[in-house]
């Protein structure tokens, strides 16, 4: 790799190696000094990106372009370009939507909930995870708009004062709740993320040589001066926001699950959905954070900040949430039969043995069996293994949403209307395009903002040091 590492002229503060605790492992490896932390993180912004970044960016951007073309084609021609039919009104579109919303869960979970629980290891990953959240919610937000038959009228689902008499939105519709839940979540996540960025932006402001950049950083760092008073207020607000964001982590996916839970289609009509969806979302979100962090530490040479220990911790969360999801699967099957409702029983049988059984079993393998490998410490600490498993989990979680949506719809109450769904090239391209959008934005984030929260990392730098 030809990634040039520029050593700044600053003299690193020498660290006495004997200061490292023999009992505990430090969170940040390499026994960094404050200055080294600043240098390591800020050089990502100052230096030219390496070949790895460019390759990743090119691939992502190509996917984004392909997705944009497919989306334009859909919007100009009609939803008929997709594989939907009179029986199956949603498939890839809402699957992708729920998938991305799920991905968007880990960020706020890591920054807010782990912050409240005083989990210090979160500091290395929270910034990227929050950025991932915002980008994933943006990707998710795309789908409810383009899945509409007339997407140019999407603003009709917003309750805004209008000149159509007393025409308002339907507050009984879960799609309207979705709008509120997601926009609230996005707003809080954005504010939370931005607030956390302020001290680091100030650092960047103070360091950068480019006048233009300094101007921008100056505006966005809100006149941060690092005084005690500033820090004190900052931390109070951060805590309050963390407390505010925490319930949203639970509410947003609960409400997304209402799209299904409040309907009457067997396979959708289920009270287990809110907790099941939240667990699934955290599950998939953490898997995605792991995938991304493994890429970032490799691509950006941040192995000392994002350590195997971080990954291991996230593996444990994944194992827990994966097991919750497994229990949900088992409960669904049990309740399906326990209900005595022939329609419910049929849906279960049809999922397990029907024409989409391959999708169901992909889902079960990836979501129920694969995370169980994290019981083994060797697996939890082997980076390539974590990388592969985290990708498998996200494949499984995508299929979970596909199974819920398509297998429930394709055979519901009246056998005369039963049908099959096969995606078209357009739909697959739009899905790939959403990944293109996700990675393009994430790679840009890595270049434009400090990818690791310097101020917070400095706070835990002394952890496990005497």
């Amino acid at each position: 790799m030809a990634v040039a590492i520029n050593h700044y002229h600053e003299t690193p503060i020498s660290i006495d190696h004997s200061t490292v605790s023999s009992l505990r492992q430090p969170l940040i490896e390499g026994e960094k000094s404050y200055g080294e932390v600043t240098t390591d993180i800020c050089k990502l912004l100052d230096n030219k990106p390496g070949v790895g970044w460019w390759i990743a960016f090119s691939v992502s951007f190509c996917l984004l372009i392909a997705g944009a073309i497919a989306t334009t084609y859909t919007v100009t021609t009609g939803i008929g370009t997709w594989g939907l039919n009179k029986t199956i009104g949603w498939a890839f579109d809402i699957t992708n939507f729920v998938f991305w919303i799920g991905i968007g869960h880990a960020g706020t979970f890591i920054s807010a909930i782990l912050f409240l629980f005083n989990q210090k290891w979160r500091t290395s990953v929270n910034r990227s995870a929050e950025a991932m959240t915002l980008i994933a919610v943006m990707c998710a937000g795309l789908f409810p708009v383009i899945h509409m038959g007339r997407p140019w009228l999407f603003y009709w689902i917003l309750p805004y004062p209008n000149a159509r008499g007393s025409l308002w939105v339907n507050f009984r519709s879960p799609l309207v709740w979705d709008f509120f839940a997601i926009s609230t979540y996005f707003t809080i996540s954005l504010v939370f993320w931005y607030l956390g960025l302020v001290p680091d932006l100030a650092t960047a402001r103070d360091r950068t040589i480019s006048k233009f950049k300094r101007g921008l950083y100056r505006i966005f760092s809100l006149g941060w001066n690092g005084s005690n008073r500033t820090w004190s207020r900052y931390e109070t607000v951060y805590l309050v926001l963390a407390a505010l964001a925490t319930p949203l982590v639970l509410s947003v996916h609960s409400i997304v699950s209402f799209d299904f839970a409040t309907s009457l289609i067997p396979g959708w009509h289920s009270t287990i959905f809110p907790p099941y969806f939240v667990a699934g979302a955290v599950f998939s979100g953490f898997a995605m954070v792991m995938t991304l962090m493994i890429l970032v530490r490799k691509l950006m040479r941040l192995e000392q900040y994002i350590t195997v220990r971080h990954l291991e911790n996230m593996c444990k969360v994944t194992l827990l949430t994966g097991s919750i999801v497994t229990i949900a699967y088992l409960t669904e099957i049990f309740i399906g039969f326990y209900s005595g409702n022939p329609n419910e029983m049929f849906v279960i049988l049809n999922r397990v043995l029907g024409p989409y059984a391959w999708a169901y079993w992909t889902m079960v393998t990836c979501n129920a069996f694969v995370p169980q490998l994290f019981w083994f410490k060797r697996v939890r600490t082997t980076v390539p293994a974590i990388f592969v498993l985290s990708i498998l989990i996200n494949v499984g979680m995508w299929f979970e949403r596909f199974v819920i949506i398509v297998t429930s719809l394709h055979r519901d109450f009246l056998p005369s209307s039963w049908a099959m769904y096969v995606p078209t090239v357009t739909e697959v391209t739009i899905l790939l395009g959403s990944f293109g959008l996700f990675f393009t934005l994430f790679l840009l984030f890595l270049r434009l903002f400090p990818a690791i929260s310097m101020s917070e990392v400095k706070g835990v730098l002394h952890y496990a040091r005497r």
Binding site: L264, F413, S416
Partner: protein, 1002 residues
């Protein structure tokens, strides 16, 4: 830019707009003449003038009638009684004309034959009128010409023909219009050897000929299904396609009606229906007992039945060997024979065969049972299928021999549908003068010298006598769209008679009918009255009851015996008509192509139906292309696996594979007419000794229903009559609401519907009636393959029981207009809302197309506009109903209970200061239902028919457990003494549910 130049411009040009003034200003101050102040004033004035002129709405000139015609209000429809020209059955219709355009055909409720019912084909006729592939002017040698040229040339050639004395032939389809027949014969009398030959591609000539043998009268009796307590049919699809299906369906449902009479009445009154057949027909699917027989067994069973019921009429049957018939069929025949003997004079035996010998045997049975004069009417015989196969064949022979000097073809297409079309084509080339009076440049018209396109029946004067004594009038409802001319006027014109056919028609009615009636004093009164009614019933002299002649019977029996004994495993091809496309004459009609066949649920194609066992034997899957050939011909078709069909036959629909039908109808399916045989004087729609070969190709048939069974779900309730009488005490059902929520409160109206599954025979006419009324788009074969057909009402068809002889159940499903509508709660933009009259309304211009409502609808009746349905054909667009919005892309649509009709009725009632009468509003599907299966009305009106039916003991709600409280309920089907036990089946099906689940669809 110099100021001088602009100044020059200002002087030279006329200052008439503000643009130049602006230019001047931009160039600096004007030097003289106009002061700054004036200049600004001018600018201001001009700008204001421009702004005000752009404020005006675009100008549209609406020119009112200078003199408004009487009884004509723009925007209000007028209805004209007329006669359907879709086939020979001559059903009475009412044509809805809006602003000078016929937009809908409905059954004439007062017409004695169809009594308000109509078939699918009739509904498609509106589209046929606006078919832009119709010829727009006459053609000479396929080049556009004027009528003057055509007439001059034809008259010259005909004059020459008259001199040579060559044969002149007029070849038409069934013409039962007495005035037209007179015109044709008048045309022919000017020639030495002129003859009118009637040809039907799907003929019933054998019945006529058989009656000429057995009853000395060359006619087809009128079958009074309504009077028969027991109908035994041998392969006759009398509810779907045979002779006069709408009339038969009406009679059938009258004889089986359970919704009116008391319980004890129904036991006696409900007729019974036994069907012996090889393929699965619409009629067979409705039978109380359907006995699957091989094509040869069918003959054997008929002979055995004759032996058991009519042995005293002829001795020829005594020696019949029963052993050639399988014991299952033998037993069924014996049972049927006993029942028939009990119901002498109240039963009816019919056969769909076009074999004279078979029909002779049928006649003997009916004669022996004393059914003539009761369920078969020879006094008022049917004139609905007049084709004489023998004469057509003779004509082709004469043509081939070069004896025919002039051939005038009208309304038939033998170059496509004659059994030996190549022979016809070569023979036609030998005729010196060939004239076609067909409406389009079809296969036959392409081969002739002159094409003289006639009017569509909605543009023309005509009459019909479909059943002797019933005279039906046909009046134009629009001025001819193109330069066409009634075929009668063409023929008259060539005799030098330049009268319009209207005069001829009136004259005929004056001379022949007016004199025979007594109700009206003047002819004008009689004419106006008949025109308003659409028909006149004029009693004819009852001819004497034709005497029975048993003489020729033994010969027939001897001929049939070897055929029935032929039990080798030989495959036969059975050629049948589908309810929509029939014989293929209307093949350019996309409505008819997209109407799913009620049995196969397949659209836009014909196919080779094979039984599941046969498919297994040949290792054929659904959609596999197979090659069907005999020594004469071979055709390639996709296979369709049809449960209930006999293993010894392949069933193929006629009417497909047109090569010159027009843009909608070309190259759809394959032409099966070459498999028709001409044998023993009639066309035989059965080809024996065929071979079936599998090819490597496979296609996906465009089916609208991919899953055929109920999988043990209680969606269709069906009883045997005995169970029904036993279990139901005839008490009214009480349906109390047990909800903790308050029910919807309805004030003035609550619209509701009841669908009687016992009456519904699956004819699918409702689907096309709805399509025409509600501007439902046609989406084409590929979109149907993607399961995106748009029909607002669909006909669910389930096969119950074993694959080899299933019971078939039909269920029309449209929007159930639920009280607790699951679609309403999920729409984010309130595009689907509940009305104060119980309707679930779809607001098209509010819909953003999330499809959430469609997902959440358990009945799956909502239809989404996947693409912009372009309406590129300005002529076809004339068929659109202006009362109903044409939906745009990305919008959900569905059944509205024909809300436009409800509103129209409300306006009428309000204008007249009264309440809406029960039955005043008829939805489109209800109006045309030949069996009166659909009732619609107001539940607030306690005396309404629909309200009473809701308390019927057979009433049930589809998916009641979901508690959507729909306004539609169904009345359970009742079959007489079938062995069907649905609960048994449910158990059996759940056993093999896993197998069904695993079976991939499509």
């Amino acid at each position: 830019m110099s100021g001088d130049k602009l100044w020059k411009l200002f002087q030279q040009q006329h200052v008439d707009d503000a643009t130049q003034l602006v230019n001047i200003e931009s160039a600096g101050a004007p030097r003289a003449g106009v002061s700054r102040r004036t200049f600004i004033e001018m600018i201001g004035f001009s700008a204001a003038a421009l702004a005000f002129s752009s404020c005006r709405a675009p100008e549209q000139k609406i020119i009112p009638f200078l003199k408004q015609p009487v009884e004509f209000t723009p925007g209000v429809a007028s209805w004209f009684a007329s006669t359907c020209g879709g086939c020979g059955a001559g059903c009475g219709v009412l044509v809805k004309v809006r602003d000078g355009r016929p937009i809908k055909i409905e059954g004439n409720p007062e017409h004695p034959l169809n009594a308000g019912g109509l078939c699918a084909v009739a509904h498609g006729m509106v589209f046929g009128l606006y078919d832009s592939d119709r010829l727009r002017q006459p053609l000479i040698a396929s080049k556009p010409a004027t009528w003057e040229d055509v007439d001059r040339q034809i008259i010259d050639i005909l004059a020459a023909t008259r001199k040579t004395g060559e044969k002149v032939r007029v070849l038409t389809g069934t013409i039962n219009s007495p005035a037209s027949l007179e015109t044709v014969s008048k045309f022919l009398t000017q020639f030495k050897d002129g003859k009118h030959v009637m040809y039907e591609a799907v003929s019933a000539a054998a019945i006529r000929e058989a009656h000429s043998r057995t009853h000395k009268t060359t006619s087809i009796p009128q079958y009074r299904i309504d009077k028969a307590k027991l109908v035994v049919s041998f392969g006759a699809d009398f509810l779907g396609t045979w002779i006069a299906p709408t009339q038969h369906s009406r009679g059938y449902s009258t004889a089986r009606d359970l919704s009116g009479g008391s319980r004890e009445m129904s036991r006696d009154n409900m007729s019974r229906h036994v069907q012996f057949e090889s393929l699965m027909s619409l009629t067979g699917s409705n039978a109380d007992t359907r006995i699957k027989v091989s094509p040869s067994e069918e003959t054997g069973a008929l002979l055995l039945l004759a032996k058991l019921t009519a042995s005293k009429e002829t001795s020829a049957l005594a020696a019949l060997d029963e052993s050639s018939i399988s014991s299952r069929v033998r037993e069924a025949v014996h049972r049927t024979a006993n029942e028939l003997l009990e119901l002498r004079g109240e039963s009816l035996v019919i056969s769909g065969s076009n074999d004279i010998d078979v029909q002779c045997v049928v006649n003997v049975i009916n004669q022996a049972l004393g059914n003539y004069g009761k369920t078969l009417d020879l006094n008022a015989p049917s004139q609905q299928n007049q084709g004489v196969d023998r004469e057509t064949a003779e004509l082709v022979r004469d043509m081939n021999a070069g004896e025919v000097g002039a051939l005038i073809i009208s309304g038939v297409n033998p170059a496509y549908d004659y059994y030996a079309s190549e022979e016809f084509t070569t023979a036609l080339a030998k005729v010196p003068l060939k004239i076609s009076l067909n409406p389009a440049l079809d296969e036959t018209s392409r081969l002739v010298d002159y094409v003289c396109p006639p009017h569509h029946f909605l543009e023309a004067w005509d009459d019909a006598e479909p059943v002797r004594g019933v005279f039906s009038l046909n009046q134009p409802t629009i001025a001819p769209l193109f330069q066409t001319r009634g075929y009668q006027e063409s023929l008259l014109g060539w005799t030098g008679d330049r009268r319009p056919f209207y005069d001829v028609l009136r004259q005929w009615w004056k001379d022949n009918l007016f004199t025979r009636q007594k109700a009206h004093a003047t002819f004008d009164e009689f004419w106006d009255h008949s025109l308003r009614d659409g028909f006149a019933v004029v009693q004819t002299q009852p001819s004497e009851q034709a005497a029975f002649v048993a003489g020729a019977l033994s010969e027939s029996v001897e001929k049939l015996k070897p055929r029935s004994a032929d039990r080798e495993n030989k495959l036969a091809a059975l050629l049948y008509e589908k309810i929509a496309l029939r014989d293929g004459a209307h093949a350019n009609n996309p409505w008819l192509h997209e109407l799913p066949d009620p049995i196969s649920k397949i659209t836009w194609d014909n196919y080779a139906c094979v039984s599941p066992a046969l498919a297994e034997r040949f290792e054929i899957e659904e959609g596999r292309i197979v090659l069907i050939s005999n020594e004469k011909t071979s055709i390639e078709l996709p296979a369709h696996i049809q449960p209930g069909q006999h293993d010894d036959c392949v069933a193929i629909a006629l009417g497909y594979g047109r090569t010159s039908a027009g843009k909608a109808g070309d190259a759809i399916g394959a032409n099966a007419y070459p498999l028709v045989r001409f044998d023993n004087g009639t066309f035989q729609y059965q080809a024996t000794g065929i071979t079936l070969e599998k090819t490597p190709a496979r296609v996906q048939l465009a089916s609208t229903q991919l899953h055929q069974t109920l999988d043990g779900r209680p969606l269709i309730k069906e009883f045997t009559l005995d169970d029904y009488l036993k279990e139901h005490k005839g008490e009214e059902q009480s349906k109390e609401s047990k909800s903790i929520w308050k029910d919807y409160q309805y004030g003035e109206h609550k619209w509701a519907m009841v669908v009687d599954l016992n009456a519904c025979i699956g004819c699918s006419a409702c689907i096309l009636s709805c399509q025409g009324e509600n501007n439902v788009p046609v989406v084409g074969k590929d979109e149907v393959r993607r399961q995106r057909e748009m029909h607002w009402i669909r006909l669910d068809r389930y096969m119950l029981g074993p694959d080899d002889n299933p019971t078939v159940a039909y269920q029309p499903v449209m929007c159930n207009q639920c009280d607790n509508a699951s679609c309403e709660s999920v729409c984010p933009v309130l595009a689907t809302v509940h009305s104060s009259e119980g309707l679930n309304m779809q607001v098209y211009n509010r819909c953003v197309g999330t499809r959430y409502c469609e997902n959440n609808c358990p009945y799956k009746v909502r239809r989404f506009n996947w693409f912009e349905n372009k309406h590129p054909d300005p002529i076809a667009n004339l068929a659109l109903n202006p009362d109903v919005t044409v939906r745009s892309r990305g919008v959900m649509e569905k059944c509205t209970f024909c809300v436009q009709r409800i509103e129209e009725a409300k306006i009428h009632a309000r204008n007249e200061g009264r309440n809406i009468r029960d039955g005043e509003i008829q939805t489109a599907c209800q109006q045309s239902c030949p069996t009166r299966a659909i009732s619609f009305g107001d539940l607030v009106d306690v005396d309404s028919r629909v309200g009473k039916l809701k308390h019927d003991e057979r009433d049930y709600i589809l998916l009641e457990e979901v508690n959507l409280r729909p306004q539609i309920s169904y009345l359970a089907k009742v079959r007489r003494s079938t062995n069907v036990n649905l609960s048994d089946q449910a158990g059996k099906e759940s056993d093999d549910k896993l197998k069904i689940v695993g079976r991939p669809e499509a």
